[in-house]
């Protein structure tokens, strides 16, 4: 890029839209001539620099956002190049986050893009607090749930269950698989979080080990057997690495042999890769559509230039083009984002009574709870546990300073990083 000076972002379509009032704008939309001052002040974190991440970075930079961070732990693979357009053949092996950030900055110098090559779990919760909006371009349910739990963990409610708006961290999430995808906006505390709508994600199929070992019926069964049983038995001490060609070839050959023994068809090298790496088919068009929908929603959240999406769009391109925009509802009992789960115990209940009764009410989320009230630990597991043992026999009413109602926060390793908010009432 030379000759034409691109230091200043020339006005574009976004600028025109933002300087004029409209008929479908969001609350408190303030038309402004100076887009850069509006959008430069907003800090956006892009999680994932893959198929969606590349599109998100492009879209955000082209929309006038000036302060974007991107985090990804992966390096570039040849199979990324059919859609991750910020990467070239010569980039194979380099950090996705760093390469994507550099390419975006080169094309849009007015956009400051900071790369973080690493795992999302390695960042402190507080690190996520600095961003105004978090845009997710991920392919795993676990990573989504993790960011969701971090953001829901920021929420603070008053005793009436009203969320403190300054603690809300909006999330914009996209996901694709082949010709299908979804985009959604999550305003924790206001609209459903991931955990509220967990049912949207079908359970992953896993094969029982006895099927793999004794009655394989499909190519996938043979491949899984080669990876899960034969590899550790025959190559002990070595960890199977799906990115090492020799490892993949070994598993493929073992699987093929097993399939031949059992008269099963369909084991190919490509299928072996698909099963062992859990490969999701991906094409550039779906990523572009879904990521751009996320960019537009990010722009709406940042500027209120139009009403926000409420709150989920699914896109299916296999049979014509079908999309469905739907307003999902919060789970009022959600352990991640609800103001609190109402729970009542006897007026004479001790902390131990309370703990066993809350575990009994939520056995999926709790097993060995730690409990705090108004920022003070009532019971804490781990090395300091001894200090709190006396509290177990103390009455809740005394621990809560004589009050018969209050918000108690329960943590449990079963819930990973999230707390359960419990509105306790002591009655009867």
């Amino acid at each position: 890029m030379s000759r034409l000076d691109v230091d200043a972002r020339p006005p574009g379509a976004v600028d025109v839209m933002l300087k004029r009032a409209g008929r479908f704008t969001g609350p408190d939309f303030d038309p402004s001539e100076d887009i850069s001052s509006v959008l430069r002040a907003v800090r956006v974190l892009v999680v994932g620099a893959g198929g969606l991440g590349c599109e998100l970075l492009k879209g955000l930079a082209m929309s006038g956002f000036g302060n974007v961070d991107v985090i990804d732990m992966d390096t570039i693979d040849v199979s990324n190049l059919n859609r991750q357009f910020l990467f070239r053949s010569e980039d194979v092996g380099k950090s996705k986050a760093e390469t994507a950030a550099r390419r975006t900055r080169e094309r849009v110098p007015t956009c400051e893009v900071t790369a973080h090559h690493g795992r999302i779990e390695d960042k402190e919760d507080g690190w996520y607090r600095q961003f105004d909006i978090i845009a997710l371009g991920l392919d795993s349910l676990e990573a989504r749930a993790y960011i969701n739990s971090v953001c829901c963990g920021f929420l603070e409610y008053d005793e009436d269950g009203n969320v403190d708006p300054t603690t809300i961290k909006p999330l914009v999430d996209g996901g694709t698989e082949g010709f299908k995808g979804h985009a959604r906006v999550i305003v924790p505390g206001m609209t459903p979080c991931f955990h509220c709508t967990m049912w949207l994600f079908p359970p992953q199929t896993t094969f029982p080990l006895c099927t793999l070992a004794e009655t394989p019926r499909s190519a996938a069964h043979c491949i899984e057997y080669a990876k899960l049983i034969q590899w550790p038995a025959e190559r002990h001490g070595e960890t199977f690495d799906p990115d090492v060609v020799e490892h993949m070839t070994w598993v493929y050959k073992k699987a093929l042999k097993r399939a031949e023994t059992f008269g099963i068809e369909g084991v190919t090298y490509s299928h072996t890769q698909g099963v062992t790496k859990n490969i999701i088919p991906a094409i550039p068009s779906t990523n572009a559509i879904i990521a751009a929908a996320c960019v537009i929603e990010t722009l709406k959240i940042a500027t209120m230039c139009a009403k926000g999406m409420n709150n989920y769009i699914m896109y299916v391109g296999t049979d014509g083009v079908y999309s469905h925009t739907v307003e999902y509802e919060r789970d009022p009992m959600c352990v991640m984002c609800s103001p609190g789960i109402a729970h009542s115990v006897s007026a004479y209940a001790t902390l131990r009574d309370f703990m066993s009764s809350i575990v009994a009410a939520h056995p999926d989320s709790l097993s060995e709870p730690s409990v705090s009230y108004r920022g003070k630990n009532l019971y804490l597991r781990g090395v300091l546990e001894d200090q709190f043992v006396d509290n177990l026999t103390a009455r809740m009413v005394d621990l809560m300073g004589g009050r018969t109602e209050g918000l108690v926060v329960v943590n449990d390793k079963k819930m990973k990083k999230t707390s359960m908010r419990v509105r306790v009432s002591l009655s009867g």
Partner: protein
Amino acid sequence: MSTERYDRQLRLWGPEGQRRVSECRVLAFGATPSTCEALKNLILGGIKSFHLVDDALLASPSRPDARARCLSELFEIEIDAEMDSTSTVAEACVKGLARLNPDVGGTWTKSSARGSVNIAESLTQSEGVDVVLVDGWWVGDEYIQELEAWALKRGDVVLATTRACGLFAECKTSANARWVMENVTPEGSVTKDLRLMNPWSELQAYVEMKTSDLDRLDAAAFKHVPFVALLASAAAQCGTSDRRAVKDALTSMRRGLDEENFDEAFANMRYAWTDTGAVTPEIEALTRDRRAIELTAESDKGWFLAAGLREFISSEGCLPLEGSIPDMISTTESYVELQRLYADKANRDACVVWQSAIKRAARVGYIGDLITEQDAKTFCKHCRHVRFMTWRTMADELDPSTSVTSGAATLLKDAISDPSKTVSAFIFAAFRAASAFRGPGGRDPGVEPESVIDSETGLPMSQDAFVSRDAEVLHDHMTRDVLQPRGIKLDQSTAKIADDVLYEYTRYGNGQLNAVGSIIGGIASQEIIKLVTRQYIPMTQRLIYDGVHSTTTLLF
């Protein structure tokens, strides 16, 4: 290298689909976000070549916005030291886009929309054109009808058009009527073609063999009898009309409660009384279509297969077997045997259809593509979903008088009165009204001329006043040029929505957002891939994207 590069898409459309993509030559009109984003996706996917047409210069005295437009809204653009202010935006885009994939060649022409058909014609002579990609704003509603007519006359050439303004956009494809039969069955289709209600003789023998000695099987063998055999046996014992009896029969066969194969049998009990080979009304209509009966040398091969299917149905009384079975608790041996049983029957059925089709083809002296056995297998496997698809022409929708005779005018009227489609219908109307607003060489609604002076006060107009003024003119055009000729009158509530949409349209000042280009260009490129690979089911209607409400709507 290229297998690795395209691995994630090969898993969708396979090597044959990819081969078709790699031979595809795309001609694009208008270096706009929508077309460039669509091109980006096609280039990444590995098309053969692309050619971009636009006459805008990187900097031009008559259009000082050209440079800003390309730098603010086009991402894949590269301006090198060789280029100067007389270079075209098209050249800079081609240079940027070509970087995306070393396998794909790109070229450009500097031309205005007026020369579109000539360029298409001459490129066809020199290199060939398979896909025409058009920015509807750049080419205009008038020339686009010429281009479409040209494309349809070429037989296999498909055309895709996009148009965007602010948060509003539209996309439509045009193609000659065609069969779709590959990859058309929806993923996770719930009904499996098991034929347990009326099993063919080999399946009956299998069921008999697996269940005759149930009582003597040891515990492990008993727990591995495939549910298909259990269910078919129960159904055979008591007839399929008595559902209660089927359940009781299964229960009485059971030994304990931990037999997972029995759990599967209970979960799939409906197959005992569901005729999965039943002929659906859609297939009935397709095989009895006049074109499947009056076959000629020029008939599409799909009609010969449809005729073959008709003959199969009339002799067998059911559809050809689909041929695949779900995974189920079973020993490897029993499962593989069952799998082969279904696959063999499906192949035999398809072969009967194929024989009938090629016999008919020979009889009428068919001259088209070879009808292969594989064609018949694909056709039969997906016969519940294969279809012959037709597209409306641009004129049907865009030309007011043609739209009245084609029925599109009525559909527009219906869409306006359907609350879920009202906004989208007015977005369509706004695009047409904007074409009328602009006229030849004119200004687009909401685009500021050098200075905007209020004629009464002599002072510069506010943004709001300027937008309102243009929106009113646009409104007049919509009433006069779009709605009235189609016989559409608005009531009070729809008139208010029209007013809002037109104001918003004007507010955008004809700005094409990169992100909206990504969406509408993304949809266009996805449709092109479906048409080029001849897989999946293409969209035949006009799609309206409403970025305000984040919805898509199909019109006409």
